[in-house]
Every structure is written in structure tokens, then in C-alpha cells.
């Protein structure tokens, strides 16, 4: 059978040919319309010319710009200052800029999306400034470096203030830039001293007067934010500096990262002597481990001493299943506090001697009681960064340990390991209580999640205080991103946006993120659910829906009892019922995959499985679980 290589109606054209033909056709059509207008009548024969080349005037009109008018020339700024600002931010390795848009920084926003091609930093659309900053808070706790939140004038700063306060209390670096536009549409969005509103809980702020000064200020802010004690910083950028043309060729200032403050040699020797000579030392870690290296150092010290480590709940300082995890046995005679939270831990009850390494005294606030009594009472108080001090302390401890001490340490370690194992088994046994109850028990949520995530690279992003600590009691937490602690300042509305930020940081590592979010917390600024969907941030949120501000319910119950006025009205003002909130419906409204409310415990496992599958596929999901109060 004979075949032809030529198709009878071959409609395919290569793209170049298609565009060329289209251009010629358009030009020909235009010429034709001109001819028709000149003739004032339809041509006798309507045949189209095969191709009409453009005239020189037409070509010039299409390929050469007309000279600008003076007004247009004055209007267009080809190289605005905010382009340079983006160059600086990129040099600082800032990956993301979370923001709720505002006119005071429209110059910088335009440079991010156009000059910077919306990469490094990428602009993330947020629906509330508190969400922007809390996202940056969660991101930094995973990634170990700051993310940027861009705030609009006085109103943006005030919306953001709660989240800034949380980050400050939690000693987390957040890179804040606020726009200031004295010629903007609303006078109330400006202030003489913009940073004043949050100065008590940012570590440093500056309002540069020129573009050149912005460069130096931006680098200085970054260095200060990322030097322990880490904390948010704020740079206020005037709209005029953003929009005015760059003069000259400003370069990005050199970025120097300082060595972190560590204890002096004499203090290290004294600490090591006390610890090695102690009969029953204990280690208590608050915000000691900033990174995986920090965890590894605490493990090394604990194993050398065979001392128990109470890892607290502010960071993952120590692996949850390590045999030395916990409070050990008996009364410690020497307690080593590493970056204690707020009060420095129980300060040496009985005969205990207390050593504290803390940067709390470097992070004072003139107005707020951020650090309580700072490092707390201690027999040996060392103002230094714990993680930076540990290598020297470990070396000194190694030097002092004799064979005899080592044998005694091993005996001690065996006792501590036995106690740890017993506690773990008891926790698992306790998880069975209320297993089949409705509402669903919090232990069951954690237990059912574990087999679904344990073989994945996973991260748990929310506080554990309101959920009975069950993830930490049942799961094998050993990486720094397996648990990232709580709000810092106790401000609600943290868990959801911080989890979105944490999930954003985890995403590039191919890591899934789990957030067990209280219903009260979720209601502060739920719009961040939309941000998670819009930017496809894989986060599984399980709503711990106890339909109450439950901690407050218990407090009110106590207060009523203390006054002997009856405890049957403690639910007034503390519960979130009548109507019950449908969180799955809320999430769906933001475009998120959601299930619930789940009240039957047997429905939980399959729903969790579907939720985990969703986030493994790269999208966020929410499951509303009606839960026991605690």
C-alpha cells in the first residue's frame, strides 16, 4: 500500500512560523484597512494580498519608543532604592517575606515581585500581620535563621505586636521591616517614632535616613537578631527611600557573624568540677538547644556524666526516648540549668547546688516581665550561651573523669535508665484510659498518629502543654525539628500561623508537619489557613476541639470554689459552644481539604490516614476532632 508523507490538512506550525505569520497578517490587515478607508468603498474584488510588508513608518512605530514627555520622565523611576533593598535581603539569605499588603511599602513589594522575580525573598500573602510574624517565628525555629515579615505602618506594627512579643519571649529571631509613608493616604498610619510601639520587645530597631544607611542597618539588624540571645529586630523604611532612584552604585555591606558568647575558662572548670564530683547531678534544659548540634552536645554531656536530662517543653533539648531522659531518681545534689525558661527551674531545693548558664541577663526589657526573675537564683550563675559553652564544658568533664568515677557513673546511669523505662511504659499504659470514649482522648490522637508518621521525615510544630504532652510521651522525638516548643509569651493565636511557618521551612526538606491546634488558639486569626492553601504548604492541622478555653475554665472553677459561691457557672465566658464551631467547614471555606467534626473515636484513625496522605502529596489538610478537655 502506498502512503503519502504529506498530510492533506496539516494544521501544525512551528511556533516561530506561527508568530511570524500572525505578525505579517496583522500588518497586512492594518494596511488593508487603511487602503479601504482611503478609498471610501469596498474593493471590487475582495481577494486578500498574499503578504503586505510593513512600511518603514509602521516598523518604526512598533520597534522604537517615542520620546517620553517630561511628565512621564519624572514619573518613571528605572532603578528605585527598593531594588537595592531586595539585593541586600537576598545577600542576607532571607527566603521569604510574609506580609499583609500595605501602601507604605508598595515600593519594596514591587521590587520583590519584579526586580527580585519574587524569589529570595518570595512574597507570601498573609491575611493578618500577627500571622505574618508568627509564621516567621515558626519558620526560624525549624530553619535556624530569620524570615522576614513586612508590616504596614502603625497599624501593621500594632497588629503584629502580639506575635513579636511571643517571639521575643521565645528568643527567636524574626526580621521585621515596616513601611513608613508620610505622604501616604492615611495620616494615622504614620508616627514620629514608628518602632516605639514595640521597642520594649524587639532587640534592636532603626530607621535609616538614606539608602546607604539602609544597607548598613539591614546587615546590623540581621547580626543582632541572630546573636544569642536571639530576638526580633525592626527596620523602618521610609517610602521615599524605597521609591527614589538609586544614586551611585551602592554595594551590600559585608556580613560578619560573631562568635557566640561562651563561659570563661574559670567558670567552665568550676562547673566541671562540681558536676564530676556530684553524687546525683541533674541537667535541666530550657531553650538550650538551638540546633541539632545543641541536642547532640547535651546528649554527650549527659552520657559522660550519666546524668538525667529534664528537657522541658520549650525546645527539643534531648531525645525523648534516651535512657537518661527525665528527672532521674532521688534528689539531685547539683543541678545544671541550661538556658532555663523564665525562672531558672527549681532553685536547689534541699541541699542542691545550682549552676545556671543563661543569656537571659543580656535580654532585658524595661517594661515587660519577659524573663521573670531572669536566670533565677543560682550558686554559680554564668551569663553566656549554653550551647556555645557546652563544647568546652564537655572537654573539661572528660579531663576530670577518673576510672573510679566512671564506674560510679555507669551504676547511676543504669538506675536512671530503669526509671526512664518504667515511666515510659507507664505513659503507654495510661494512654489506654478513655481510649473508646467520646469525645476522643488526646492520648488516642497522638497514639494513632504515630504509626502514620514514624517512618516519614516528620516535624511536630505545636505546643504540648494543652494536650497532655502526649506526643512527647509516646513518640520518638530526637531531631531538633521533632518538637519546637510553645509561644514564648503565652500569647494565644500562635500555634496555627507558627505551624504554617514551620511547615513552610520543612517543605523544602521534604518533611511533613503535624500541628495539634487548640480551638481557642485557632480562632484568633484563622485566615492563615488560606495562606497555607494559597502557597501549598503541607501542614496537617488536627483541631483539639474541646470547645473551650479550658485552662481558664479550670481557673474560674478554682476561683469560684475559693469564694464558696458555687462552681456551676465556670463555663460562662470560658466555653465555645452554642453554637459549636464547625472547623472543617471553616477550612473548606479557605479552600483546604478538611474532615470532621469527628466524635466517634473509631472514625479517627482512617481520617488521620487520609490527612497524612494529603500532606504527603504536598497540600495542607485539617481534621476537626471533638476532644476530651485534656
Amino acid at each position: 500500500m502506498k502512503t503519502s508523507s504529506k498530510k492533506p490538512h496539516d494544521t501544525s506550525v512551528d511556533r516561530r512560523g506561527f508568530l511570524k505569520g500572525a505578525a505579517l497578517g496583522a500588518a497586512g490587515g492594518a494596511a488593508l484597512l487603511a487602503d479601504k478607508a482611503a478609498a471610501g468603498a469596498e474593493p471590487a474584488t475582495p481577494a486578500l494580498p498574499a503578504a503586505v510588508p510593513p512600511t518603514p513608518a509602521q516598523l518604526a512605530a512598533e520597534t522604537q519608543a517615542l520620546p517620553r514627555t517630561r511628565a512621564v520622565e519624572a514619573y518613571i523611576v528605572e532603578h528605585p532604592g527598593s531594588d537595592y533593598m531586595v539585593d541586600v535581603l537576598r545577600a542576607l539569605d532571607i527566603e521569604y517575606c510574609a506580609s499583609n499588603c500595605g501602601s507604605s511599602f508598595e515600593g519594596l513589594q514591587e521590587s520583590i515581585v519584579n526586580h527580585g522575580d519574587n524569589r529570595m525573598p518570595e512574597f507570601l500573602t498573609c491575611l493578618h500581620e500577627e500571622s505574618s510574624v508568627a509564621m516567621a517565628h515558626g519558620y526560624a525555629k525549624i530553619e535556624g535563621k530569620p524570615m522576614m515579615a513586612l508590616l504596614h505602618g502603625t497599624i501593621g506594627i500594632q497588629h503584629a505586636s502580639m506575635a513579636i512579643y511571643n517571639a521575643y519571649c521565645d528568643r527567636v529571631p524574626v526580621y521585621l521591616i515596616a513601611g513608613l509613608d508620610h505622604e501616604g493616604p492615611v495620616a494615622a498610619h504614620n508616627a514620629t517614632d514608628m518602632a516605639a510601639m514595640v521597642r520594649d520587645f524587639v532587640k534592636w530597631d532603626h530607621q535609616p535616613r538614606s539608602l546607604d544607611e539602609f544597607g548598613r542597618s539591614a546587615v546590623r539588624a540581621y547580626t543582632i537578631a541572630t546573636t544569642p540571645p536571639m530576638a526580633p529586630v525592626l527596620v523602618v523604611v521610609d517610602a521615599h527611600i524605597q521609591k527614589a532612584a538609586v544614586e551611585g552604585n551602592p554595594t551590600v555591606p559585608p556580613i560578619s557573624k560573631p562568635q557566640f558568647p561562651s563561659a570563661d575558662l574559670g567558670s567552665v572548670k568550676e562547673m566541671a568540677r562540681l558536676l564530676v564530683n556530684a553524687d546525683n547531678p541533674g541537667i535541666r534544659a530550657g531553650r538550650a538547644a538551638r540546633t541539632q548540634d545543641g541536642i547532640d552536645l547535651v546528649v554527650e554531656l549527659a552520657e559522660l556524666l550519666q546524668a538525667p536530662v529534664d528537657g522541658g517543653s520549650a525546645r527539643l533539648n534531648f531525645p525523648s526516648r534516651h535512657p537518661l531522659a527525665g528527672t532521674g531518681t532521688g534528689q539531685p545534689d547539683v543541678i545544671l540549668n541550661l538556658e532555663p525558661v523564665s525562672r531558672g527551674g527549681p532553685a536547689g531545693a534541699g541541699t542542691s547546688r545550682t549552676i545556671t548558664i543563661s543569656t537571659a541577663e543580656f535580654l532585658i526589657s524595661s517594661n515587660f516581665n519577659v524573663n521573670g526573675d531572669g536566670a533565677g537564683r543560682a550558686d554559680l550563675l554564668i551569663a553566656a550561651d549554653a550551647q556555645a559553652t557546652l563544647p568546652a564544658l564537655i572537654e573539661e568533664v572528660k579531663r576530670l573523669i577518673t576510672d573510679d568515677r566512671k564506674r560510679r557513673f555507669e551504676e547511676r546511669g543504669a538506675r536512671i535508665a530503669a526509671a526512664h523505662s518504667e515511666r515510659r511504659r507507664q505513659d503507654i499504659m495510661n494512654a489506654r484510659y478513655g481510649w473508646d470514649a467520646s469525645p476522643v482522648s488526646l492520648a488516642r490522637i497522638a497514639a494513632e498518629l504515630w504509626p502514620l508518621i514514624k517512618d516519614e521525615d516528620w516535624s511536630f510544630s505545636s505546643p504540648q502543654g494543652f494536650i497532655g504532652g502526649w506526643p512527647g510521651r509516646l513518640w520518638d522525638m530526637k531531631k531538633s525539628y521533632h518538637a519546637i516548643g510553645a509561644q514564648g509569651g503565652g500569647g494565644m493565636g500562635y500555634s496555627l500561623p507558627a505551624s504554617v511557618g514551620a511547615a513552610l521551612a520543612n517543605k523544602k526538606h521534604g518533611r511533613i508537619t503535624i500541628n495539634i491546634n487548640g480551638d481557642g488558639d485557632l480562632n484568633y486569626a484563622p485566615g492563615v489557613l488560606w495562606t497555607a492553601v494559597h502557597h501549598q504548604i503541607p501542614l496537617l492541622t488536627l483541631v483539639h476541639n474541646n470547645r473551650a478555653y479550658h485552662q481558664e475554665l479550670m481557673y474560674l472553677q478554682q476561683q469560684s470554689a475559693a469564694r464558696n459561691r458555687g462552681v456551676d457557672r465556670a463555663a460562662i465566658g470560658t466555653t465555645i459552644t452554642d453554637p459549636n464551631i464547625d472547623y472543617a467547614q471553616m477550612a473548606r471555606a479557605y479552600g483546604m481539604y478538611a474532615e470532621g467534626p469527628i466524635e466517634n473515636p473509631s472514625d479517627l484513625g482512617p481520617a488521620l490516614r487520609r490527612g497524612v496522605e494529603r500532606i504527603k502529596a504536598g497540600e495542607p489538610a485539617l481534621i476537626d476532632v471533638v476532644t476530651q478537655p485534656r
Binding site: R321, S421, R424, R425, I428, M429, A431, R432, Y433, G434, W435, D436, A437, S438, P439, S441, L442, A443, A447, E448, W450, P451, G468, L474, D476, H550, L553, M554, Q557, Q558, S560, A561, A562, N564, R565, G566, V567, D568, A570, A571, Q628, P629, R630
Partner: protein, 142 residues
């Protein structure tokens, strides 16, 4: 036991505080299961007790089925009714367990709550019979 005797027991509870404390310790440890019903106990109403358990926010620390939360497990109750009432009148640590006074809640209401707790089925199978917990147990060295 009559209501008058129950009230007398309540007054005596100050003297019995160490015993009550011991009882609570044993209760938490699950080391003792004493008789849960005396022959002279008040007759309680399950439905009323269920409503009161909620109204008085008992669920806040003990869970809706008396098995979860920060407080001791109440399902099944391990004190008899008299001692249950006496305990609620004068808990050894009122900062943890709010005292429920006669002026606020009558003995009869507490008896209703007690009867409700007695009526609750256990929702707590053995850990070894729950596959996910059993698996976590296997991950835990002895």
C-alpha cells in the same frame, strides 16, 4: 448509712484527712478496690448526675467519662459513696481539687453524680489489646 451520718462523716473528715489522703494515694495507684456502695447510701439518679457532672464542670479535670484529664480517674469510682461525698467536702489539697460545699451542692446531688459515675461503662481496654499502643510498647525496652 443515713444522710445525717454522712454529714457527721463530713465533719469528721478533718480528723480523717490523713486517711483520706492515703485513700487517694491508693486510689491513684489502683492498688485497692473497695466496696463502692454501702447499704445505707443515698439513692442517686443517673441522668441528674450526668447533668450535674457537666454543670459542675467535673469533666474539666476528669474527662467526660471520668477516665482522662489531669485529675484522678473516677471510672469506676473506688471510694464508697460516703467517702466520695466526704472527700468532695474537704479535699486534702483544695488548690488542686475544689471543695464542693453543702451550700452549693447537696449530698443528694453528689449522690447523683456518684451514681452517674457508677453507671459509666469503661472505655479503657487493656493497652496490649490496642494495636497502636501495643506497637509502641514493643518499641520500649524493659
Amino acid at each position: 448509712m443515713t444522710r445525717a451520718i454522712a454529714r457527721r462523716c463530713s465533719r469528721m473528715s478533718l480528723y480523717l484527712a490523713p486517711l483520706v489522703t492515703l485513700s487517694v494515694i491508693l486510689h491513684v495507684a489502683g492498688a485497692r478496690a473497695e466496696s463502692v456502695q454501702d447499704s445505707g447510701a443515698l439513692r442517686g439518679d443517673v441522668e441528674n448526675g450526668k447533668a450535674l457532672f457537666k454543670d459542675y464542670t467535673c469533666y474539666g479535670c476528669h474527662g467526660y467519662t471520668g477516665e482522662t484529664g489531669r485529675g484522678p480517674r473516677l471510672n469506676p469510682p473506688r471510694l464508697n459513696q460516703d467517702r466520695f461525698i466526704a472527700y468532695l467536702r474537704n479535699p486534702p489539697n483544695p488548690r488542686q481539687m475544689p471543695p464542693y460545699q453543702q451550700s452549693d451542692v447537696s449530698d443528694q446531688k453528689l449522690a447523683d453524680i456518684y451514681t452517674f459515675l457508677q453507671s459509666l461503662p469503661s472505655g479503657s481496654p487493656e493497652a496490649e489489646s490496642i494495636p497502636v499502643l501495643s506497637e509502641i510498647l514493643r518499641e520500649t525496652p524493659r
